[in-house]
């Protein structure tokens, strides 16, 4: 099974979630993160002292899916998260050894 980690623009999150749902990915874990990359940040000024914020709010989705679903999931994300502007984010794919559903201790693909 594969873990898909997608870092996306917060404003695209709802669309991405929906698209994933459509290709059959339901389980996911979401966190608020801040991203640093090519996208340039902004400057804030407090009483004359400027400071540059180059960490921008992003949403990180993590979902572990059976190998066969990975592609569809990635496509769903790409389709909905892309705005074509710098800062759209990244997707990373990693191999996961095992998954366990805590509720009933199911393992492997069945647990996803």
């Amino acid at each position: 099974m594969k873990k898909i980690e997608a870092i996306i623009q917060p404003s695209r999150f709802d669309a991405v979630k929906e698209a994933l749902h459509e290709v059959g990915v339901d389980g996911m874990t979401v966190s608020e993160v801040r991203g640093h990359g090519r996208q340039k940040g902004h400057t804030e000024v407090y009483r004359g002292s400027e400071y540059t914020v180059d960490l921008l709010p992003k949403v990180k989705l993590e979902m572990v899916v059976p190998d066969r679903m990975a592609d569809a999931a990635v496509q769903a994300i790409l389709k909905t998260a892309k705005t074509g502007k710098i800062g759209d984010g990244k997707i990373f794919l990693t191999h996961v050894d095992d998954a366990i559903r805590i509720r009933n201790e199911e393992r492997g693909d069945a647990a996803l």
């Binding site: 804030e44 000024v45 407090y46 009483r47 004359g48 002292s49 400071y51």
Partner: protein
């Protein structure tokens, strides 16, 4: 600590035993009387005599209502007002420590004031400090003290003035925010109240004080609600503290943005509201002078908010919320000494000047000199107070407040635009006195406290934050 505590307790009981005595005999009940039915048998003269007392009571009722509300408003300025204004400006890890500094002053200064502070300021004494005639508030009761306020109980006057004695040291805490030991702060403030605030307040407001404009001072300085007494002393002491303590770890390289401009916003608004108690209340009665001071206060705040915002807009292309609220506070500071002396249009001008000037102090001057006045206590209160005190000498007019009179009781010119150029010089002297006292007094006290308890928190405590290291708490526990 423990022994001391017991001693204090004992002392207090002792005093309460000694002074519980007779005290002030509550003027004959006039409550029901107010309507007083015209008993036809009573002679007219008697009726008129009775009426005179009732009128005095009625007048006192209005003025006392006003002054008690003002006292409450000024309390609200310190807590929650200033505590939030400052608390929002620091990093999250220091929010409680910062607010605590204001709060504990509420408690400490109150007790000091009750024991001897009020006496040192408002009892007549030398030109520099009052004597101890009002020790433990002996003789401070229902009867008015006509030297200060003829229509309200002296107790009201006392508690109203106490609120000023509280907020003044609290203003200083903005300068050494995020790095001073709590214990050191407590000791520093006790000494500062005694050695800087009490003398300065006595000189300007106390009977026979050196700078008192109406009660026998030598150099009549105008300070309606505390430009010199409150803002210059605190602002200048703040600068001294900032220089003495040194910069916060990481300043100015690390970003230290306010953790919640929202909190600061609430604080600034409450300061604005409370400032009506501060300035209009300084009329010490609910007459038209209070109205005039109220209007001047509001107008200066508004103009200064615009001034600061406009300056920012010109320089950064944006007006910030922190700028607008800082501007309002700067205007309130600058109008404080002038509030009861200047007309509404002058108030707009004073506010505008203060807004722009304090912006420059904070955004340019501070950066150039490189001191770490963390929350700009000097930039706003020191600078704003100074310019306000000087401009009071310029804009004060007898039409608003005929404070100076000749032998025949005719009002004399007050400020520069009224035809009295001298007053600017008097104001200048007052300002210098306040600066000198603040610098010298604060330096001495810092030295003492540094030796006794040490001023700064340990480096790891500064990194950890004051909330945890000084108080064992956190401001927010938002995890489920």
């Amino acid at each position: 600590m423990r022994r001391l505590f017991l001693g204090l307790l004992l002392g207090t009981l002792l005093i309460s035993g000694l002074t519980a005595a007779p005290a002030c005999a509550q003027s004959t009940d006039s409550q029901g009387a107010a309507a007083g039915s015209a008993s036809s048998s009573a002679s007219l003269q008697e009726q008129v005599g009775k009426l005179q007392q009732q009128v005095a009571d009625a007048r006192s009722s209005g003025d006392n209502a006003w002054m008690l509300v003002c006292a409450a408003l000024v309390l609200m300025m310190t807590g929650p007002g200033l505590a939030l204004f400052y608390g929002g400006l620091v990093r999250k890890k220091n929010v409680l420590g910062t607010m605590m500094q204001s709060f504990i002053l509420l408690a400490i200064v109150t007790v000091l004031w009750a024991l001897f502070g009020y006496s040192l300021v408002f009892h007549s004494g030398t030109r520099f400090i009052g004597n101890l005639g009002y020790l433990f508030l002996h003789g401070v009761g229902a009867a008015p003290n006509p030297d200060y306020a003829a229509t309200i109980p002296q107790e009201t006057f006392m508690v109203y003035q106490l609120m000023f004695a509280i907020i003044t040291p609290a203003l200083i805490t903005g300068a050494f925010a995020e790095r001073m030991k709590f214990s050191a702060m407590v000791v520093f403030m006790i000494l500062w109240t005694l050695l800087v605030y009490d003398p300065m307040a006595h000189m300007v407001w106390g009977k026979g004080g050196l700078l008192n404009a109406t009660l026998g001072g030598v150099i009549p300085t105008l300070d309606f609600a505390g430009g010199t007494v409150v803002h210059i002393t605190s602002g200048v002491s703040a600068l001294v503290c900032a220089l003495y303590l040194g910069k916060r770890l990481g300043y100015p390289h690390e970003p230290m943005p306010p953790h919640s401009v929202v909190l600061s916003f609430i604080g600034a608004c409450l300061l604005w509201v409370g400032w009506f108690g501060f300035n209009a209340g300084s009329a010490l009665a609910a007459g038209s002078l209070a109205s005039s001071a109220f209007v001047a206060t509001h107008f200066a705040a508004a103009a200064a908010a615009l001034g600061w915002s406009a300056a920012e807009w010109l320089r950064n292309g944006k007006a910030s919320v922190l700028g607008a609220i800082s501007g309002a506070v700067a205007g309130l500071v600058a109008i404080t000494p002038a509030a009861g002396f200047v007309g509404p249009m002058s108030a707009l001008v004073i506010g505008l000047i203060a807004g722009v000037l304090c912006y420059l102090m904070v955004a340019k001057v501070k950066g150039r000199f490189g001191y770490d006045d963390s929350l700009d206590a000097f930039g706003v209160h020191g600078a704003g107070g100074t310019v306000g005190a000087l401009l009071t000498g310029v804009f004060a007019v007898r039409a608003v407040n005929p404070i100076f009179k000749d032998a025949q009781g005719n009002a004399l010119a007050v400020g520069l635009i009224d035809g009295n150029a001298r007053q600017v010089i008097n104001q200048f002297v007052g300002v210098v006195m306040a600066w000198v006292l603040a610098i010298v007094g604060t330096l001495v006290i810092l030295k003492i406290v540094d030796v006794l308890v040490g001023l700064r928190v340990r480096e790891e405590h500064e990194i950890q934050g004051l909330d945890l290291s000084q108080h064992g708490e956190e401001g927010y526990n938002l995890e489920v």
